[in-house]
Symmetry: C2
Subunit: 244 residues, 2 copies
């Protein structure tokens, strides 16, 4: 048995997230279909993270367990030749059998892309949140630093998750402007369900004045989802980097 | 009668170019439809340039002749509210009645976007040419300078155009690399039919060795389309700037 680590990138617009589900196209299933065409056999693929419907990945990892002896370099080309344009395999490498793409992950980085202009950008329909009101990115960058540290992030977790332990360590958070494009960037040892989208939505609510910029520590402390801001839409969110 | 200059941007993927034609969706017609909804009257719109099917515009200008007295700022919002996402009106301004968006244009700049990596970028299906073989952009930048100057560009004009005078002045040409993204940029007082796409295709043929990098002056001199390179695909091309 071999354990092959696959690094990929995908535009999530057409997918109901990563994880296989009934009656909906997902990235995992599309990848398993491509593997089945190449190996003539259905193989098991394990992802590093669930992603929501419409969420993108600049970098995503999964493992493929197989008896097939195809060299890794040939597998990259074979997969790309059998996948649709919106999923690209970047590289493949053999890893020890005990390697697990989710449990062995040390850190993940997400970015959230915003087109911050009164007028929409016709190229960014599915890739950026269009936010019309001027964001004070210097202020939001300062506010975002309050997320950094080891906290119980219950206030920033959507209902419906099954995870008990909601303590996570946010290592970095930044808000940067490049012209009309605003990039929010956050890294942590792990994330709760919708955690990044709620943190981004909270920063947008700080910008609009609905939430006080100094109150992030109290919101965290309260452990109440209703004290945090809205859940920002999925289509601005990208899993950007996974560190093992 | 007022003459309103409209500055817009569009993602050309879903359109058969700018110019109205039978049985095909175009940007001009889509804009005229939006104006008709707002004014309750069909008005005439004149563009600064034809663009091919699938070609994009970061900046495009057209004029709208109307008796309607709507203020320009309100017109911007009304148009954006009645246009699909892939067309955005950036600004409107009243200009003299004799102003013509095509004839009064002094200079246009096009850019051509290439994703230069063996592996495709899942976000760039309709916005970049995917070119797998490594482009030597420093060399191509030098080669591209041979296009600069006042020349008869018959060799870089597709058959079927009705224009007699094929002399144009190319003011600048550059080839720049940003990681795996390569941007070719060319400005001129005017362009012939498919001229930018044939110049880009010729540079790609120089890169692959099909065309000698020093032979551009001879290709121009020959006035024979068959001596130039292929016509690069439409979807990497953007009208980027129009100067009056």
């Amino acid at each position: 048995m071999r354990n092959i680590l696959i690094r990929l990138s995908y535009n999530g617009t057409a997918y109901h997230g990563w994880q296989v589900q009934q009656n909906a196209k997902t990235v995992q299933e599309t990848l398993q279909d491509a593997v089945e065409i190449i190996f003539n056999k259905r193989e098991s693929i394990t992802g590093c993270s669930r992603t929501d419907s419409g969420v993108h990945a600049n970098e995503y990892y999964c493992t493929l367990r197989t008896e097939n002896q195809i060299p890794c370099e040939r597998l990259v080309n074979a997969l790309n030749g059998n996948l649709p344009f919106d999923i690209a395999v970047l590289s493949c490498a053999e890893v020890p059998l005990e390697f697990h793409p989710r449990y062995d992950c040390k850190e993940k980085e997400y970015i959230y892309k915003i087109w911050n202009s009164e007028i929409r950008n016709p190229f960014y329909l599915n890739t950026h949140l269009h936010y019309k009101y001027q964001l004070d990115t210097e202020k939001l960058d300062k506010v975002s630093k309050q997320f950094i540290g080891t906290h119980d992030f219950t206030s920033f977790c959507a209902a419906g998750g099954s995870v008990e332990d909601k303590v996570r360590t946010v290592k970095n958070f930044s808000v940067e402007r490049y012209g009309n494009e605003v990039i929010m960037r956050v890294s942590a040892d792990g994330f709760l369900y919708n955690m990044v989208r709620i943190m981004v939505g909270t920063l947008l609510d700080v910008s609009s004045g609905k939430i006080d910029g100094d109150s992030i520590p109290q919101i965290i402390e309260s452990k109440k989802r209703e004290n945090a801001g809205v859940t920002a839409p999925a289509h601005g969110l990208y899993l950007n980097r996974v560190i093992y």
